[in-house]
């Protein structure tokens, strides 16, 4: 099954692609029965940290599994260092994934898991096991069974097992889930450092702030499609431009609506009983204008909340 190659590097202005890719997805489609998980998705990843951002169910995990060869693609092609990870098992020498699943092998300690991975990869220098455990600050618990570990500790143990391989490509599926703030900071520093060493680090998250903290480049996936790509500032700007709806409950919804109409931060108003729904693309300006108008009118605000301020709704707007 052949797929069209991405644009040549000379003409490559598309932020979804990098000049020297180690991992490429070319028109990749994956479906499970009737459900389309990925649809004609093309992008590439190179040295450094790339964030994979999208709401839950967007297809991030499916893409990561496809990139690692764990799932076959129904259409298109995945290449890791120029080879198909489904057909060429030697690719796995350079590739590691930290899956989102909480599951870890039963009864094993982090050290035993790392030693197992080291044996599979025929790693000669066993000091690397200690180094990997130290790197994720797992040494104090290295000889305890993982059965009783929290999700965050399991994630760190899996990161250690991935590091034992000394991978060129490291795929991390929601690696910060369950981590406490200190560990979160530590892991973000680690991933940033691994990217700076020239490794291809792909990190998924549905939290933009997390991705911003570690990735200069972000790829946004929504409903299995590429929604946006580029620097996190560009993604943030795109999200800021997305129109949002704010519910305002007050003692004078109609008077407040009349005062807000025409304000430059307000795109539209709708009054429904005591509820006032304001559309805006400039939420911060609205946050200043609204209480000012209420004060001037002598209206008491009882509730102000965004109706669709979830990340999911922002992502949906991005792909409209």
């Amino acid at each position: 099954m052949s797929a069209p190659a991405p644009p040549s590097s000379g003409a490559r202005q598309d932020p979804a692609f990098v000049d020297e890719p180690t991992v490429e997805a070319r028109d990749v489609s994956v479906w499970f029965g009737q459900k389309v998980a990925l649809s004609e998705l093309s992008c590439s990843f190179g040295a450094g940290v790339t964030g994979l951002l999208g709401p839950n169910g967007a297809g991030k995990t499916t893409l990561m599994r496809a990139l690692c060869g764990m799932l076959p693609v129904n259409q298109g092609q995945v290449l890791v260092t120029g080879r198909d990870p489904r057909r060429d098992r030697s690719v796995h020498r350079h590739l590691a994934i930290v899956p989102e699943d909480e599951a870890v092998p039963r009864g094993l300690t982090p050290r035993q898991l790392c030693e197992y991975v080291a044996d599979l990869h025929r790693v000669d220098d066993r000091r690397v096991v200690d180094w990997a455990l130290d790197t994720v600050e797992m040494s104090p618990a290295a000889d305890r069974s993982m059965d009783g570990f929290s999700k965050g500790m399991r994630q760190r143990a899996k990161v250690a097992a991935a590091l034992v391989k000394n991978p060129l490509v490291l795929v991390l599926d929601e690696p910060l889930n369950g981590a406490d703030p200190v560990q979160r900071h530590h892991l973000i520093s680690l991933f940033t450092r691994l990217g700076a060493e020239g490794r291809t680090v792909i990190v998924s998250s549905h939290v933009l702030n997390e991705v911003e903290a570690m990735a200069e480049r972000v790829i946004v996936i929504v409903r299995g499609r590429l929604a946006a790509a580029g620097g996190h500032r560009a993604i943030r700007d795109a999200m800021d431009d997305v129109p949002r709806q704010v519910l305002v409950r007050s003692t004078g919804a109609r008077r407040l609506a009349a005062a807000l109409v025409g304000h430059e931060a307000v795109g539209g108003v709708r009054v429904d009983g005591d509820d006032l729904v304001v559309s805006t693309t400039r939420a911060i300006d609205l946050a200043v204008a609204l209480p000012r108008a209420a004060r001037d009118l002598g209206v008491r605000l009882t509730e102000v909340r965004p109706l669709d301020d979830s990340l999911e709704s922002l992502f949906r707007e991005l792909v409209r």
Binding site: R86, R89, A96, D101, P105, H121, N166
Partner: protein, 251 residues
């Protein structure tokens, strides 16, 4: 940072075997193995309590209860644990995402699973023969248990490679294909670990020939047949492993 690829080539295979022995059998699985093994001993007591010639009574009981029930159930628990359960749990990716050839993974899992199943069944069946008063049948029942367990584990590993609901398919294989169809059709019985193990035991134990089933290999021929079944299924499993869909526990 790391020197890879410098250890001997057998090291990954040994690691897979060690991992299989250590990590694929949690406590509940051991209960699922030990309960049938205890039942095997109880079946031995039952055979003794029936009176008559102990050798004859044990051989008849072994054919129905030990090889027809205890062995498939025990091997199903072990065979599903060493691959199918790991695929479902999402932990098989630690093994699969490595440059180790799939034939080494399949073989390593089979060696580990067979060691557990054959070890438990061998001891349980020997104890069953002893309490039944058929000490002469201990060697034959152990040989039959080991060869039958090896074939069964290969069957369940192969099922784990091709079916997502491996445990359900394995049960269907045992109770529908082997028990129902195998009882009626010689062609099925010739490929059934349960029937072949029974033939190994009865022939090697030198008990009355009316317990042997015509049209199904006996004695050494049955051992060879069981070995061939194991080999073919391991080849199939190693080919299927390369094309496995590892979608994780949440899917």
């Amino acid at each position: 940072m790391t020197a890879t690829g410098t250890l001997p080539a057998w090291r990954p295979f040994a690691a897979v075997v060690r991992y299989t022995l250590r990590a694929t059998m949690p406590g509940r699985r051991w209960i699922g193995v030990l309960v049938p093994c205890v039942a095997a001993v109880l079946f031995g007591l039952l055979a003794r309590s029936e009176g008559g010639v102990p050798d004859q009574a044990f051989a008849e009981m072994a054919g129905v209860a030990l090889f027809g029930l205890v062995m498939p159930v025990t091997c199903l628990v072990v065979g599903d644990a060493v691959l199918g359960a790991e695929v479902r749990a999402g932990t098989f990716s630690f093994t699969w995402l490595s440059p180790v050839p799939t034939w080494q993974i399949a073989l390593g899992r089979w060696v580990g699973g067979t060691t557990i199943a054959a070890g438990c069944l061998g001891v349980a069946f020997a104890a069953s023969a002893l309490v039944a008063g058929a000490a002469d049948q201990v060697p034959s029942v152990v040989v039959a248990a080991v060869t039958g367990a090896a074939a069964y584990v290969a069957v369940f590993i192969a099922i784990g490679c091709v079916a997502r609901r491996a445990a359900a398919w394995s049960l269907a294989f045992v109770f529908l294909v082997e028990r129902l169809l195998g009882a009626a059709l010689d062609g099925i019985a010739q490929l059934s670990p349960s029937w072949l193990a029974r033939q190994v035991h009865v022939d090697l134990a030198d008990v009355p020939v009316d317990l042997l089933r015509d049209g199904v290999p006996q004695g050494t021929g049955a051992v060879v047949r069981l070995a061939a079944i194991s080999a073919v299924l391991l080849v199939l499993a190693s080919r299927r492993l390369a094309h496995l869909r590892l979608s994780g526990s949440a899917d």
